[in-house]
Symmetry: C2
C-alpha cells in the first residue's frame, strides 16, 4: 500500500454550492493547541460560540449550539426531536432539501403532507398554511441550495398557527439576515461550510423554549437527543456540564474564529458584501447572454443558478474550470444536473476579485471546453 | 458582546481519556487548502483514507469509512443499521460505553438482553453467548474507556453463532492490534481522538458484507443509513459517487494524515510505544503507592485507571494539575467519578517524557492540592 504524505494538494477556488474556501481565521484556529472537551477553557469557548450563534440566528434561545455533525444531521435533529408516530409534518418542497426533509420526517414517524412548488420558485406561505388544519410542524428551506432561491420565512411564521416552524438556514446563515425570534422560527439548523466560511463538520442549531417544551421525550436518536444535549452545551439547571459525547473541539474552535471574523466585519457589511458580489456575478452572467435559473426577485446572491447554454457540455465546462483555473463550480441538482450550474460566492469568496475571475474563466471555458 | 480573538490559548498536555494531543501531521493537514467534497482529488483522498482504515481495522471490508460525526454516532450507526423492532441485542456491559450501547439499541427498537459485569473486569464471552439462544446481534466494547479494561473480542467472535458481532473500538484503534476479519467482528466503530491522534469529529467505521446484506432496509436515521452512505464513500456499483451529505473534508484530510503518520512508524512500533509507555506509567503509579483500578492482566496501556488515595480530593488534584502544569487527566466514570482517575497516554502522548512529566506532577499535586 502506498500512502504518500507528500502529494501536491491543489489550491482550489471553491465557487460551488459549498464548501467555500474558509476564512483564514477559521483555518488558523485549527492549528492552535487542542483543548479537552471538559476543560473550563473549552466550556467558555462553547459559551462564546453559542453567544455568537445567537447573534447570527437573531435569537435569544438558550438552546443554541453547534451539533457535532454536518448540516444534514441538523435536519435530522430538527425532526426527531419534534415529531413522532402520528404527528403531521407539513413540508414545503421547492428543491432537493425540501425533498430531503420529507424523507427525514417520514423516518421519524411523521405523516408528511408535502406542498410541492416548481423548482426555482419560492415557497408560497399561503398554500403551505392551507395544506393541513392542525399540523405538528411546518417546515421550509430559507435559502434552497439546490435552486438558488430565497423564501420568505417571516411570512410562514406569521400564519403558522400553533404549529412549530422548522427552518433550514444552511445556505443563508452568515451571509444574509436571519431573525429567528422575529420571524417565528422554532427550530433552525444550518451548516458551517457555506457563508460562515468554516470547514464542514458542524450544524449550528437553535430551538425555542416553546419547541423544547413540546419535544419528543425520548427521540429515536440518542446522538441528536436535545434533552441530553442541553446539558452538554449549556449546562444543566444547576450550572454543571454533563458529559454526553466528546465535542469536536477543534471544529468548535474554528467555528468560533469564523464567527468572530464575521462579527468583526459586522453583519451588515458581510450581508452587503455577499449581496454586491452576487449582483455583479448575476449581471455579468446575463451580459454574457446566459439565463439565470432562479425566479427573478428571489435569487440568492450567495448562490447563483444559471442555465447551461444550448449545445454546451455542462460537465466539460466544469472540468475545464477545475483543470485550467482550479475553479470548482457545481452541477445542477436533481433533474437539472446537466442543464444548470450552481455558482457560490460565499464567506471570503464573496468579493469582486472572485466575480472577475469566475466570469473570465467561465467565458473561456464555454468557448473552449 | 465581547468576542476577543486574541485571548491566550493554553497548551495542554491532554492526558485524560481523550481527546489526546493530535499528531503534528494531523494538525498540519488542517492548515492546507480545503478541497470540495465532490472533487476528484477528495474522492482519491477518501479512497486512501478508507484503505488506511482497513489496515488499522484488520479488515478487507469494502464498506470501511469515516462517518461524519463523533464516535458515539458510530455506535448509533452500528445499531440502527442492524436492529429494529423485535430484534434481540445481547450486550456485554462492563462500563459506561456498554451501558450506552443498551440505550442506543433500545431506541433502535431492539429487545436488549444485557449481561452485566463488575466495572473494572473484562467481558466474559461464555456468559454473553449463553444469555440468549438466538440474538440478532451481540455487542461488546474492546477497550472500555470508562474503566481502562481490555476484553477479548476474538473469544466472542468464536462463539457468536449466527449473530452479528458489533464492537466498540474507540479507544483501541491505532494503539493496539485489531483484527476484525480474524476475530469475527461484523460491525466496528471507533473515534479519531484517542490513539489515532486526530481531533474528535469522525467515527471510523467498518461493516462486513454479511452484516450489510442483513441490514435494516430503511433505518430510522437517514444521516447514518449505510445503504445511502455506501454510494457516498465507495461509489455505487457503477463506480459513480452519489451525493449524500457534505463530507467534513478538512477532518478527513486530518485523519488521512494521522493514519499516514501511524503507518509510517509501523503498527507494531506504535503498539509497542503505547504498551511501554502504559507499563512505565502503571509501574510508576504503583511505586508511588497507588492502586490500579482495572483488573490485572486486562489493563489497557493507553488508558490507565487508578484509585484516588484515601483522603485525597480527586477534583482538587485534577485542578492543581491543570493550573500548575497544564496537564489534563480524567475523573472516573459513573459511580467512580471521585474515586478513580483516568490517565490516557495516547497517540503522540505515548512516550517516556509524558510518563516522567505525569508522575512528577501527580506526586506534587497529591502532596499539595
Amino acid at each position: 500500500m502506498t500512502m504518500s504524505p507528500d502529494r501536491i494538494i491543489p489550491t482550489r477556488h471553491l465557487f460551488g454550492p459549498g464548501p467555500c474556501n474558509p476564512y483564514a481565521e477559521a483555518t488558523a484556529a485549527l492549528g492552535l493547541p487542542l483543548i479537552g472537551h471538559l476543560d473550563p477553557e473549552f466550556i467558555a469557548r462553547m459559551d462564546r460560540t453559542n453567544e455568537g450563534l445567537r447573534v447570527l440566528w437573531g435569537t435569544k434561545n438558550a438552546r443554541t449550539l453547534p451539533l457535532s455533525a454536518t448540516g444534514s444531521a441538523g435536519m435530522e435533529a430538527a425532526f426527531v426531536n419534534t415529531v413522532q408516530s402520528g404527528d403531521v409534518a407539513v413540508i414545503a418542497v421547492n428543491g432537493l432539501f425540501g425533498e430531503r426533509m420529507c424523507e427525514v420526517a417520514s423516518r421519524a414517524g411523521a405523516e408528511v403532507v408535502r406542498v410541492d412548488h416548481e423548482w426555482g420558485t419560492p415557497v408560497d406561505a399561503e398554500r403551505v398554511a392551507a395544506a393541513h388544519p392542525n399540523p405538528t410542524v411546518i417546515a421550509a428551506v430559507h435559502a434552497e441550495t439546490s435552486t438558488g432561491v430565497l423564501s420568505d420565512i417571516a411570512a410562514l411564521g406569521a400564519i403558522k398557527g400553533d404549529a412549530l416552524l422548522i427552518t433550514d438556514a444552511v445556505t443563508s446563515i452568515g451571509g444574509m439576515p436571519i431573525l429567528a425570534d422575529e420571524w417565528g422560527i422554532d427550530v433552525g439548523y444550518a451548516g458551517t461550510q457555506k457563508c460562515l466560511g468554516v470547514a464542514p463538520g458542524l450544524a449550528p442549531f437553535t430551538i425555542s423554549d416553546r419547541a423544547f417544551e413540546r419535544r419528543v421525550p425520548k427521540p429515536q436518536s440518542w446522538y441528536l437527543d436535545l434533552g441530553l444535549l442541553g446539558g452538554y452545551a449549556n449546562g444543566a439547571p444547576g450550572g454543571q456540564r454533563a458529559y454526553h459525547h466528546t465535542a469536536p473541539v477543534g471544529m468548535v474552535a474554528s467555528l468560533e474564529a469564523g464567527i468572530n471574523r464575521i462579527l468583526a466585519e459586522g453583519l451588515d457589511a458581510v450581508t452587503e458584501r455577499h449581496r454586491s458580489a452576487g449582483k455583479a456575478l448575476q449581471d455579468g452572467l446575463q451580459e454574457m447572454g446566459l439565463e439565470l435559473f432562479a425566479a427573478e426577485g428571489y435569487r440568492l446572491p450567495q448562490l447563483t443558478t444559471v442555465m447551461v447554454p444550448e449545445g454546451v457540455d455542462s460537465a466539460a465546462v466544469r472540468g475545464y474550470l477545475l483543470e485550467n483555473f482550479n475553479i470548482e463550480i457545481g452541477a445542477g441538482a436533481g433533474e437539472f444536473t446537466s442543464t444548470v450550474w450552481r455558482i457560490g460566492l460565499m464567506g471570503p469568496n464573496a468579493n469582486p476579485a472572485s466575480v472577475a475571475l469566475l466570469l473570465g474563466a467561465l467565458k473561456e471555458a464555454i468557448a473552449k471546453a
